[in-house]
């Protein structure tokens, strides 16, 4: 019995952390990472246990994480606690470790995930999904990080001018490795966050179709779909200027269906205070002569309804200034809908990788944007014919790339 106890072999355990209560694309991406670790390690004959950390109080377990539970991935509700330098010193005494971390200035505080069980001390390695740690992550465990963007480098309005995101940057610099999905963001990690290129890597880009059959929609008019939200970098102001030109000067005939979190509040009839920037967008829309007559705001749709409206669109419009690229152009391609997009490195990368043959425009040039809308209106059929087939897109699912991802992760861990 003593021998049995000593010889019990336990799988390595990896904690996957989502430090902010994201929804939508980031939540899905985080869950897929956890799934890839789980599946990829088993494909390689080196099974690891995976524990997924989510911020307490924002999710419905079954609805949001049922798929993880089904696969066998553990869940832990987490509170992120601030600890002081002194507390970290005590930790070092207990564990007889020197901090491997190299902070810019001695931080006054760190954050630590608290799960009410072991505080993830039972994990052999941590993987942070996103760098959004408002204090640096306490250097109590080796960790890797996946970073999706540094939009603040390109859109100054995202943060207050004098604000320095020390927590984000220090956490990234002290990670054992940093992964990202596009070369553009790779450049920002090394160029903006100052992370060494020797520990920054590109990981495989995964895409998971919705696998929903689209139903007919009630809308009779021809339209293009604009999937957006209320944040700065979505470029609403230039987009609205472009719509005025498209309708006013170029005789545009397609309607615009606007979907996405909070977008229903851009309707003129909505009087809620939605913040300085979105209020300004709503005001601008209300002040247009042409655009407001052709905009239809649907807000945040259920998955099925989104698929229905997406599949029935003639094309998808993506006028965002900058981000890490968007899945919606791939989702659109999956349903046979071509896209017209702002020209920035991440979208070019997605275009090349997924062979989408997108049409591009300069996001700072409303006139060029309008002209490309007109181009798509007149040529969407020929653009549709250049889209890849579903089989091609399905080779990027998390199941298909799990082994590749595991191989990369394992070599770095």
């Amino acid at each position: 019995m003593k021998d049995n106890f000593v010889n019990v072999k336990r799988n390595k355990k990896i904690g996957v952390f989502l430090p902010i209560h994201y929804r939508g694309g980031t939540l899905n991406a985080a869950k897929n990472i956890a799934k890839m670790l789980y599946l990829g390690s088993r494909n390689a004959g080196e099974p690891v246990d995976v524990v997924f950390s989510y911020v307490d109080g924002y999710y419905d377990i079954q609805e949001d994480f049922g798929d993880l539970l089904e696969l066998g991935i553990g869940l832990r509700s987490t509170i992120w606690e601030i600890i002081s330098e002194e507390q970290l010193e005590i930790f070092k005494i207990f564990t007889k470790t020197e901090s491997p971390a190299d902070f810019s200035l001695s931080p006054k505080s760190y954050i630590l995930p608290i799960d009410g069980i072991s505080n993830f001390n039972d994990c052999d390695f941590w993987l942070m999904i996103s760098d959004r740690t408002f204090s640096p992550l306490a250097p109590v465990k080796d960790y890797g990080m996946i970073i999706y963007d540094y939009i603040q480098r390109y859109i100054p309005g995202i943060f207050d001018p004098g604000y320095y995101e020390a927590g984000f940057i220090d956490s990234a610099r002290n990670a054992k490795f940093v992964l990202t999905t596009t070369p553009g963001t790779y450049n920002d990690i090394t160029g903006y966050a100052g992370v060494s290129q020797h520990k920054t890597y590109l990981m495989p880009f995964e895409f998971n179709p919705f696998y929903r059959n689209p139903q007919r929609v009630a809308l009779q008019d021809n339209y293009f779909i604009w999937t957006t939200n209320l944040t700065h970098h979505k470029n609403h102001l230039k987009a609205i200027d472009a719509l005025e030109i498209y309708y006013g000067e170029l005789d545009g005939t397609f309607k615009v269906v606007v979907t996405g979190c909070g977008t229903h509040m851009l309707e003129e009839s909505c009087t809620d205070d939605i913040g300085d920037y979105p209020n300004g967008v709503r005001q601008k829309i209300a002040g247009t002569f042409f655009a407001k007559k052709h905009l239809k705001f649907l807000g945040n749709l259920s998955l099925q309804l989104y698929v229905d409206f997406l599949a029935a669109a003639k094309f998808l419009w993506h006028p965002t200034i900058y981000d890490n690229g968007t899945y919606c152009v791939i989702e659109a391609a999956y349903y046979g809908v071509p896209s017209v997009s702002s020209n920035y490195p991440q979208m070019k990368f997605i275009d090349e990788l997924f062979k989408l043959n997108m049409v591009f425009f300069d996001s700072h040039n409303s006139r060029e944007m309008a002209m490309q809308l007109k181009n798509m209106e007149q040529n969407f059929i020929s653009h549709r014919q250049k889209l890849p087939d579903k089989a091609y897109l399905e080779q990027f699912t998390y199941k298909k790339i799990a082994s590749e991802f595991w191989s990369l992760f394992r070599s770095l861990m």
Partner: protein, 530 residues
């Protein structure tokens, strides 16, 4: 042996260590002192002696070949300030490191004492009795304090103490915009320089004095010939940038110096004709144009044991130099302290903040290159943003402070490293007195340059293809952006294209330049000018 005098009357604390004029002076002095039959004598106020040493050390010059004439001693106010400043610096450093520790140790000891006292009945009662007896005395002592506090005398005294402490801690350059401080300083300087000039006039074996700037009209009283370096008179070309105090005084000072000089050395035909001849009515015969030599930085990155360094070794050395600089001097910089410089892509401009240097345009160009053309590029400047509120505010308001970086007062080897690690050097200046040093500084360590199309660059860059590739209209932001973008994307090609230019410039060694200076000195000594 022939003797040449060099008159240096820079202000106290006006270090030349990391300035263009300092490097220029160092080159000239080095070359002059290498001329076998020549002895160089430097005359300066006593307050400047440490900075002469600093300049020489930074440029690997030996003081052995130079003689010094100085005033007898440093005036009392500067001595006192230096002494008190060094005291408060020492105290502040110690305070910072010990304060926290002392505070927590004291609390611990006090708590331990109280714990001890409370643990024994006898000691507890003694403690209570003694405290009760002492309490009235404490009250009596507190009354004047409370009274003073009521009258706010305490806070006034404290504020005065803090103000005095701040003044002693401030560098003298902070006072340069104060008319009162400037007037007091100029009076003091006048007296000191008169003493210096008297000493100079006693040296009958020196027939020529070289004055490297235009700001010391006190040279009027030097009895022998005075040759003054005239870099430029940028006020003539850009008057609206200089409509505030103290530029009017500076102009008057320059005009006075010009009126008492016997001969001028300037660095380009453009300055000779537009500024000296046209602006100050100086005759052509009284002006010599001596172009600069090249400013090479390669030696700072070469390993001693390797006479022909490979680019990989140079790169490694540069990274090492920057890392050391980060560790020692950027500890207070949250962003840069542990930034991995080997991963940084940046363009580089080495310059002080001056209105005609066109730095704000370069910042705007960088913003476009980064945020609209997505070239993943930063800008490193060697100027101090605090000297230009307009520049600083633009950077902060547009949240560019993590992509437009200021590394000012860097030593020469760090300058060499920064030049080497840059994708390219950019010089957007609207005006210079001679061909900018930045080109050869960058090229000598493997980095090409993009520059503004101005008379002094056109004077030297005569090949049309090269002009098209590397020069931009400094008044046209789009042109600047396009040229820099091209330079970034074609770095190696640009470097190759610029080789003939660099080779041509390199032929002009500082020894050649020094021999031309000596020729001018000899001609003026024998013939005179004016």
């Amino acid at each position: 042996m022939k003797k040449i005098g060099v008159f240096l009357a820079f202000a106290p604390e006006q270090s030349l260590k990391n300035q263009g004029i300092g490097r220029l002076l160092a080159f000239i002095l080095k070359s002059l002192s290498n001329q076998g039959e020549l002895e160089v004598v430097i005359a300066c106020p006593a307050w400047y002696k440490p900075y002469i040493k600093e300049l020489f050390n930074d440029n690997n010059l030996s003081l052995n070949k130079i003689k010094l004439i100085t005033t007898n001693c440093v005036p009392v106010p500067f001595k006192l300030k230096r002494f008190l400043f060094s005291l408060s610096r020492k105290k502040n450093n110690q305070e910072k490191s010990n304060k926290k520790e002392k505070g927590s140790v004291f609390k611990k000891k006090l708590a331990q004492l109280l714990g001890f006292l409370m643990s024994y009945w006898l000691t507890f009662f003694i403690f209570v009795i003694v405290s009760s007896l002492l309490f009235p005395f404490f009250l009596i002592g507190a009354i004047p304090f409370l009274f003073l506090k009521k009258l706010r005398l305490y806070s006034h005294c404290y504020r005065l103490y803090i103000a005095l402490k701040q003044i002693f801690n401030m560098p003298l350059s902070y006072f340069k915009h104060s008319e009162f401080a400037q007037t007091a300083y100029l009076q003091l300087r006048k007296i000191e320089l008169e003493k210096l000039v008297k000493k100079i006039n006693r040296k009958k074996d020196i027939s020529i004095w070289f004055v490297p700037t235009l700001f010391w009209p006190e040279i009027e009283k030097i009895k022998v010939k005075k040759i003054v370096a005239f870099p430029d008179m940028v006020f003539f070309d850009y008057p609206t940038h200089f409509l505030v105090y103290p530029y009017d005084n500076i102009y008057n000072t320059i005009a006075k110096t010009v009126s008492v000089a016997d001969h001028f050395i300037c660095y380009s035909e453009n300055v000779k004709q537009s500024h000296l001849q046209k602006g100050f009515n100086v005759s052509a015969e009284a002006i010599s144009v001596i172009a600069h030599g090249t400013n090479e930085l390669g030696d700072y990155l070469a390993k001693k044991e390797s006479p022909e360094p490979k680019m990989d070794d140079i790169h490694e050395t540069a990274i090492e130099i920057v890392k050391n600089f980060q560790q020692k001097h950027l500890r207070d910089n949250h962003y840069l302290f542990n930034y991995d410089f080997s991963s940084m892509r940046y363009i580089f401009y080495s310059s002080q903040v001056r209105p005609y240097k066109n730095i704000l345009a370069l910042v705007k160009a960088t913003e476009v290159l980064l945020r609209k053309r997505f070239l993943n590029v930063k800008l490193i400047l060697t100027c101090d943003f605090s000297e230009s509120p307009k520049l600083r505010n633009y950077i902060i308001e547009n949240r560019l402070q993590y992509d437009v970086l200021s590394l000012h007062n860097v030593p020469s080897k760090v300058l060499a490293a920064l030049n080497h690690l840059a994708i390219c050097a950019v010089n957007p200046t609207l005006f210079e007195g001679g061909f900018p040093f930045t080109f050869s500084e960058a090229y000598s360590v493997g980095t090409p340059s993009i520059m503004s199309d101005i008379p002094v660059t056109r004077e030297v860059i005569t090949d049309e293809n090269l002009r098209t590739a590397m020069l931009f209209d400094p008044y046209n932001l789009d042109d600047m952006i396009d040229k820099i973008a091209w330079g970034i994307e074609n770095r190696d090609k640009l470097y190759e294209m610029q080789k003939p230019l660099y080779d041509k410039l390199k032929e002009r060694t500082w020894d050649k330049v020094a021999s031309e200076y000596i020729q001018v000195f000899e001609d003026v000594a024998s013939n005179g000018s004016k």
